[in-house]
């Protein structure tokens, strides 16, 4: 049984200007020990999915339909209390700019110990501290820095501390939302490598959310490309990167500067993302798509399976193959 199975998830926000359909019809699965990366522009709904999995949607958000089956249980139907027990213990989240999630007036090791004690009331303070020591070793922060305050840590160290906190309760699933955005290139590379190692070591499933395709490409087994609230392509990393089908995936890949691409050859995607309060009924990407024609603006795209693991949401998948 897969660890996480999401079926036809649709989430919307009630705003003053109308009902914003942030996520529509997202379905995906995640096996134990595997990592899944969601990639897409800001506003495509990837963070919303992450929050929904944690049960941390704001008060004006509504899960319109769909199921989130985590270890067989539907998270959508759970009460706040039940979600609180799962949150942190079974599913942990690393937020955007998580470095600001550390309380500036408490020592870092105390904060991590507190997280451990909250979810495991039987654990003693001494044991909790011992666990913190081993966690620090895992994430690569020198032991002497354990008792410091957050402001004494560099950006990379703070992020490692956050990862340690997320790992502290040995969750089955970690959701990492843009975990390395504010970090320098070298630190980012180190943290991503360490995350990969930790994942293998503890057999944790990770959901990576990023707008940067290169991060997701390096770390994840499976990729989900999102556009305007919809999952438009889903598959193994090799399948999506080596043989992308959806024009948006093509465009994303073509817009990233690599070390060998020619000057002037980067293709930008013209146009802007559609209004999600009144999204078009037909394909949401068609007015920015280089391969669209009239059918795309009339028909609703359906899922086509290219292989058992690779599927795409497009009106003309054959044309774009």
């Amino acid at each position: 049984m897969p660890l996480l199975e999401v079926e036809n998830l649709s989430i919307g926000y009630q705003t003053r200007k109308g009902f914003l359909k942030a996520v529509e019809g997202a379905s995906f699965t995640l096996e134990k020990g595997k990592s899944l990366g969601f990639v897409g522009e800001s506003g495509c709904g990837k963070t919303t999915i992450g929050m929904a999995l944690m049960g941390l949607l704001p008060s004006n958000a509504m899960i319109v339909e769909g199921r989130i089956l985590f270890e067989g249980e539907d998270l959508v139907k759970m009460s706040d209390d039940q979600m609180r027990r799962i949150r942190g213990k079974k599913i942990a989240m690393i937020f955007q700019a998580a470095m600001n999630a550390l309380n500036p007036v408490l020592r870092v090791d105390d904060q991590i110990a507190e997280a451990i004690l909250t979810h495991d009331p039987d654990c003693t303070k001494k044991d909790a501290k011992k666990q913190v020591v081993s966690l620090y070793e895992l994430v690569g922060i020198p032991r002497e820095r354990m008792g410091d305050y957050p402001h004494q840590y560099s950006g990379g160290m703070k992020q490692r501390a956050i990862i340690a906190m997320a790992l502290s309760c040995r969750p089955a699933l970690i959701i990492a939302d843009e975990p390395t955005t504010a970090l320098d290139v070298i630190v980012q590379d180190q943290i991503l490598k360490e995350t990969k190692n930790l994942q293998k070591k503890f057999n944790i499933s990770i959901i990576f959310i990023s707008h940067d395709i290169s991060i997701v490409a390096d770390v994840c087994h499976d990729i989900g490309v999102m556009y305007a609230g919809q999952l438009v392509e889903c598959g193994k990393r090799e399948e999506v990167f080596d043989s992308p089908i959806h024009p948006y995936t093509h465009a994303l890949l073509a817009s990233y500067p690599t070390l060998t691409c020619e000057r002037g050859a980067l293709k930008s995607i013209k146009g802007e993302t559609p209004n999600l309060i009144h999204p078009p009924d037909a394909c949401r990407f068609c007015d920015r798509c280089s391969r669209s024609d009239t059918t795309c603006s009339i028909e609703t795209p359906v899922w086509t399976e290219k292989s058992r693991t690779h599927r795409v949401l497009c009106c003309m998948p054959e044309r774009t193959g």
């Binding site: 009630q14 705003t15 200007k17 914003l20 963070t47 919303t48 004006n60 999600l276």
Partner: protein
């Protein structure tokens, strides 16, 4: 949609600037309407505004209703509510209701003028202090500190004792002179934070002079805050005027609620004429409360964090 926009020429530019304000105003209004305090405050204020406007009516109906000079030929002392005098009369036979209405007018006048003047002064000084920094900032802020710690009411009383009865506009001026420090501190803080923003640096790089930066870039971003503070200033101005009048230092030629309370007290009718004592007191409390509620509701309108609700990633 594009076709419509292309038709508009540059001469419509000013219209669109106004319409931007309109959309912002409309957005703000909808938040305001949703706030319970705002609704109550607004209703009360409208009531008082109507009273102020209506203060011109009674003397037109009959000269005996004039708040200062109207004397009912039949009544020579304080009487309770009756058909010809809905709230009764004061010790001289003047109609209390018309005095109450006139008092509303004075309250608004005093409150709004004093608030406006103190905002004007406070914003100007806060902008200069925040933008110039260093010595100018230090000097101005120490001046503000000195004025801020002085007890306004006491100083005004002393001045009144020295110079005798003060004209209402002098009182307004003095209130303004004592109230600007609070505003200037807030405006200065806002200016300091704006000064660092990239768009100010961009203006510098484009070659803008300091004057241009202050008036074109900083001031428009600081004014909403200034107006918010105005609502708070109004309450204190009204209370100070009422207190002064009550203590006998008000302008004897103006009928204000404080003045009415003074007359009740001085003529010994405090416990004898509740119809005379209660209305002005209640009015002072309510108008202060309504401005305060307005200020609280506006807080929500102006707070950018609250405005961002509903925007999603």
């Amino acid at each position: 949609m594009t076709e419509n926009r292309i038709d508009r020429s540059m001469s419509d530019r000013s219209f669109f600037r106004k319409s931007h304000w309109l959309t912002r105003f409309w957005d703000g209004w909808s938040i305001f309407k949703g706030n319970l305090l705002g609704r109550i405050g607004m209703t009360l204020l409208i009531l008082f505004a109507l009273m102020a406007v209506g203060s011109f009516i009674p003397p037109l109906i009959d000269p005996m209703y004039h708040p200062m000079t109207g004397v009912d030929p039949e009544i020579l002392n304080s009487t309770g509510p009756s058909i010809s005098h809905w709230l009764g009369t004061d010790f001289m036979g003047r109609d209390i209701l018309s005095q109450l209405l006139a008092g509303a007018r004075v309250a608004f006048m005093v409150g709004v003028s004093a608030a406006f003047m103190s905002i004007f002064l406070g914003t100007a000084i806060g902008l200069i202090a925040g933008y110039a920094g260093k010595i100018v900032d230090t000097l101005l802020m120490r001046l503000a500190d000195m004025i801020m710690v002085m007890p306004t009411l006491l100083v005004v009383l002393i001045l009144a004792a020295l110079f005798g009865q003060l004209n209402i506009w002098t009182i307004v001026l003095i209130i303004a002179l004592f109230r600007w420090p609070g505003v200037s501190r807030v405006i200065r803080a806002q200016t300091l934070s704006l000064k660092q923003r990239p768009f100010i640096e961009a203006a510098k790089v484009a070659g803008a002079s300091h004057v241009r930066i202050i008036f074109r870039h900083i001031m428009p971003n600081v004014l909403p805050l200034a107006f918010l503070y105005m609502t708070f200033r109004v309450t204190s101005a009204i209370i100070i005027e009422a207190a002064l009048a009550f203590l006998g230092f008000g302008d004897p030629g103006t009928v204000s609620w404080g003045m009415m309370l003074q007359w009740v007290w001085k003529t010994g009718h405090m416990f004898k004429a509740p119809y005379w004592l209660l209305p002005p007191g209640i009015c002072i409390s309510l108008i202060t409360l309504s401005f305060y509620m307005l200020g609280r509701a506006m807080d929500e309108v102006l707070d950018p964090r609250l405005r961002k609700e509903g925007e999603v990633d």
